[in-house]
């Protein structure tokens, strides 16, 4: 007798009941199969046609090469041989689509037959469609503004199939996805249970406002921006013409963009480190339990209540070479102008930096600092070895926020210098602002997209690099 004899035999997995949901899902799969099949056939025919073209071209060229012009080395004169990859790609896509279509038909049949393996496969396939489909749908939206067909096929249809699978009692999520949900472990939505259906509905209701806001104020504008970046408007903005990625690459590699980027980065370097260090120093000094310290804390944080315009006007007056307090010419010297402008930003952001660092410092447990004192550490070692690492998440947040602020700086430049002298303070945002005429819209959008990309990369970079050195409390 072996140990296995004592084990309860494993029950065969019961096939999911033939339900309206699963039948519907099978119909969805067949529908997809038809669409994919047609698309695959079209691609295959096109590829075939192109290949015929190619063959004809080659033959024609060979004929010519042995003909009267035999002396010319020009073997394939007007034959775009470098389009070969396009033909191949088309052929491969067509083949894939046909195979997929065939696969879907089989899946649909299996679903109808009640095969338990079919449900997870169908579900997995629909998620692939969703992922790739959403990407393409977004892109078509950007290009054509009113893309309907593609999203319907690649987004709506998969969603419908998934929903039908769920109603039919299957799991709408593939294995491994959503494992970290707050519902813990491998728990899945079971859409046959009334409570869970209600919960899912509730989740959608709660997500909807956030989605609406994000769509209206982020995704849609970003989509329009991408659209403008690859289109050229006419002088009055009444007509547009697709110019493609060329416009984007031209602008991003152009002198204007590089100059703007240089100014922006210089501005970041002037404002972020200085502002941060100053904020930390003031917060450390003000983090005492002294009578009346609240007064100083209030004064030091007061700049959060001033607007950029106010700060700029104050510094305009302070720095004015004739009537100013400092009587300096910084704003008029091309190599000093960014420094001059950055002073007002540093001052204006100081309140925010101060408040946030102070809050961070006050969250450091007294006992840690006391313990370090007893361990023999002086104030400097205490600060760098204990306090600073503990407030590092706060500092990371500040670095990111201040950097983004600096990337976006506009009003202070407009008020203090209007981009001058001789464009020496034209940052990227300022250059984008200058390109408002319809004819410039393409260029401006391309720059804006570039700025977005750079800000995104820099922020991600900061998170990646600093995150490893940042201690997150236990």
């Amino acid at each position: 007798m072996t140990a296995a004899d004592h084990l309860t035999p494993i029950e065969p997995v019961p096939p999911p009941a033939r339900s309206a949901g699963l039948t519907g899902a099978a119909v969805g799969l067949f529908l997809q199969a038809v669409i994919l099949g047609v698309a695959g056939a079209v691609a295959a025919v096109q590829a075939l046609g192109l290949t015929l073209d190619l063959l004809v071209g080659i033959v024609w060229a060979l004929v010519r090469s042995v003909g009267i012009d035999a002396g010319t080395p020009d073997l394939f004169p007007d034959l775009a041989i470098d389009n070969l990859d396009t033909y191949l790609l088309l052929a491969v896509i067509g083949a894939c689509l046909l195979l997929l279509s065939r696969h879907e038909v089989r899946l649909g049949q299996a679903l109808l037959a009640g095969d338990p393996e079919a449900v997870p496969s169908a579900v997995g396939l629909q998620w692939w469609f969703l992922g790739i489909g959403a990407l393409f749908a977004f892109w078509t939206l950007v290009i054509t503004e009113d893309a309907v067909l593609f999203p319907v096929v690649a987004v709506v249809l998969p969603l419908v199939v998934l929903a039908l699978v769920a109603i039919g009692g299957g799991r709408p999520f593939p294995r491994g996805a959503g494992g970290d949900s707050s519902f813990g472990g491998s728990e899945r939505w079971n859409f046959r249970s009334r409570t869970e259906r209600r919960e899912a509905l509730l989740a959608l209701v709660f997500l909807a406002p956030a989605f609406a806001v994000f769509y209206g104020f982020f995704f849609y504008p970003l989509g329009r921006l991408m659209h403008f970046a690859v289109y050229q408007q006419n002088r009055t903005g009444t007509a547009e013409r697709y110019v493609g990625f060329g416009q984007l690459t031209d602008v991003l590699s152009g002198d204007e963009f590089r100059e703007g980027l240089q100014h922006t980065l210089t501005y970041v370097l002037f404002t972020v480190p200085a502002g941060l260090v100053l904020g930390i120093v003031l917060a450390v000094v003000a983090n005492r339990r002294l009578r009346g310290i609240k007064f100083f804390q209030t004064v030091l944080s007061s700049t959060v209540a001033t607007s950029v315009a106010v700060a700029s006007v104050i510094f305009f007056v302070l720095l004015n070479p004739q009537v100013g307090y400092f009587k300096v010419n910084w704003l008029a010297e091309p190599d000093q102008v960014l420094f001059g402008v950055s002073l007002s930003s540093i001052w204006q952001n100081l309140g925010l930096t101060f408040i946030i660092v102070l809050a961070g410092l006050q969250a450091v447990p007294d006992e840690l600092v006391e313990s370090a004192t007893l361990d023999g550490a002086g104030p400097i070692r205490r600060f760098f070895s204990v306090t600073l690492p503990i407030i590092s998440p706060t500092l990371l947040f500040l670095i990111v926020v201040l950097t983004v602020f600096a990337f976006q700086a506009f009003a202070q430049i407009d008020i203090l210098t209007a981009g001058g002298p001789a464009g020496a303070s034209e940052t990227l945002v300022f250059k984008i602002f200058q390109r408002q005429q319809p004819i410039d819209l393409g260029e401006g959008s391309a720059m804006a997209l570039g700025l977005f990309g750079i800000t995104f990369l820099v922020t991600m970079g900061q998170f990646l690099i600093l995150d490893r050195r940042v201690h997150y409390g236990s």
Partner: protein, 361 residues
């Protein structure tokens, strides 16, 4: 190694006097426990030794040096906090090494200097092994259990080889079993390093089991100093009498009726010692010193609590509630409402003045 001495040390916060004219000599190498109820000022006293609180009045010495104006980082003191105060961003090894990096040490009697990396590693290794943390050196405090964190805090205090160890309720975050074990570990550590320990707790069991001597504090004022046994057997006043011992000492109000006898209601309680006749007193009798059966004390049974190995018989003696301990094998439990007689040995009777609460016999 040094003793610590308080001479009329007072600490006042705005309106509160946390420590009131404390005079206490902590002998070099002794394990001194400061014991008292919550808010009595024991942490404040400890923090003054550490230099974390300024001293409002009086003189504090560590060894022979007056330290009233010596900064915390310049006193040679290690402290284990109730929360352990481990540096969350450092590994166990880095935590233990921190004081070695921050301070100069004299090696083999030489002038103080920074330790080399090898010397530091050796000391860290030593401390970590002693406390059974060798496997955990690469972890951060967040990934340790409460007991392990506690031992890291001990290791960090130990590597220093300081003049004085201070501990503020270091066991209060541990569960009962671990607490009992760690109690023994700390006593052993004390024996090994043979350095002055000042240990703060509100738990009398900790005080009784660990202390060479203990100082009982109430309301910022020292009540009694002595070996645990002395304090238990001869409490200096009513507060100490009631605070130490579990279940607490029974106290019965009465009047000295004749030489060596207190009258309380229908009961007559003989005691040893000279107390003037007619004086209003409070008699103290520990629950284990009262026996059901023959005796001069008359009591009414109010309730009986069964604890397995023993019973607590709750009685009323002349209007005061009292507890009598009865071993389970000493016979059947009395019935509720029954009038019983209680016996005792005269030398076990504590007599306190009803006004001043000071001990009279």
């Amino acid at each position: 190694m040094s003793g610590v001495s308080f001479e009329g040390v007072t600490k006042r916060f705005d309106t509160v006097t946390a420590v009131d004219a404390l005079t206490l000599d902590i002998v070099d190498g002794e394990f001194m426990v400061l014991l008292g109820p919550s808010g009595c000022g024991k942490s404040t006293a400890l923090r003054m030794i550490a230099g974390l609180e300024t001293i409002s009045d009086g003189v504090l010495r560590i060894g022979d040096r007056v330290v009233n104006n010596v900064e915390a980082k310049d006193r040679d003191i290690a402290m284990v906090f109730q929360s352990y105060a481990l540096y969350p961003h450092m590994t166990v090894a880095q935590n233990v090494e921190f004081p070695l990096k921050a301070r100069k040490y004299s090696v083999d009697g030489g002038p103080p200097r920074k330790l080399t990396a090898d010397e530091r590693a050796e000391r860290v290794d030593d401390a970590v092994k002693t406390l059974g943390l060798a496997e955990l050196t690469k972890r951060k405090p967040g990934a340790l259990s409460g007991g392990q964190r506690q031992r890291v805090a001990l290791a960090r205090a130990m590597v220093r080889r300081p003049e004085v160890f201070l501990m503020d309720e270091p066991l209060s975050n541990l569960d009962a079993k671990l607490r009992a074990q760690t109690r023994l570990d700390i006593v052993e550590l004390h024996r090994e390093v043979a350095t002055t320990f000042v240990y703060v707790t509100h738990d009398q069991v900790e005080a009784m089991t660990m202390a060479d001597r203990m100082a009982v504090i109430a309301d910022g004022r020292l009540q009694q100093v002595g070996e645990p046994q002395t304090v238990y057997e001869r409490p200096a006043n009513l507060f100490v009498a009631r605070f130490i011992g579990s279940p607490p000492m029974n106290t019965i109000e009465g009047e000295v009726a004749e030489a060596g006898v207190v009258a309380a209601g229908a009961s007559r309680i003989p005691f040893t010692g000279d107390v003037a006749k007619g004086r209003k007193v409070v008699v103290g009798l520990r629950p284990e010193h009262l026996h059901l059966g023959e005796g001069d004390i008359e009591a009414t049974v109010k309730a009986v609590e069964w604890l397995g190995h023993e019973r607590h018989v709750i009685v009323d003696i002349a209007g005061s509630k009292a507890i009598v301990r009865q071993e389970t094998d000493e016979g059947a439990a009395p019935r509720i409402g029954e009038t019983v007689h209680l016996g005792h040995h005269v030398e076990n009777v504590h007599v306190f003045d009803a006004g001043s609460t000071e001990r009279l016999n």
